[in-house]
Symmetry: C2
Subunit: 96 residues, 2 copies
């Protein structure tokens, strides 16, 4: 766990965030890009109801995200990013 590679990784994550944080500070800091929720869901082939369950939100909330009426919170964006990058792996971890 605490090998060098891991530490370097942590460093880079932190540094990246530090850099990004240089600009303005809206009510809620945007650290992860606005995800294409619908596109990411499409990758999985899941319905809104099922995908919402996987994410840990209600169907209603997922709808709002896809319609652009509301925006996923930070953790939600991070989660979507992981699902986008490697759906299979992420779902396994979620389903352990």
């Amino acid at each position: 766990m605490n090998d060098d590679l891991f530490k370097q990784l942590i460093e880079s994550v932190g540094q990246a965030n530090d850099i990004i944080k240089g600009n303005a500070r809206p009510t809620r800091t945007t650290k992860f890009a606005e995800p294409q929720v619908r596109a990411i869901r499409a990758k999985t082939g899941l319905t809104q109801a099922r995908f919402a369950d996987v994410l840990g939100v209600s169907k209603r909330t997922l709808e709002n995200w896809e319609q652009g009426r509301r925006h996923p919170t930070g953790p939600a964006r991070a989660l979507l990013k992981i699902l986008d990058a490697d759906p299979k792996h992420a779902l396994e971890a979620l389903n352990q």
Copy 2:
């Protein structure tokens, strides 16, 4: 992406959720167990500030979670679960 194994995985995720959903329905559904936020953070060795950045929340919010004053939302719990299961891999995806 759409091989059988993946579909089976998806099925099981959905079914598990269906089963869980049998009981009461509070304002906000709890689908993932209350995570030991502090313990998970300890695994990474990150400070609150850095870990908060990784999660996509403020230091203040992470503190509230660790102190039990507030509870991570569904997506946050899912994300923590993934980080708990495989910190290295998850951080890589987040840092891509």
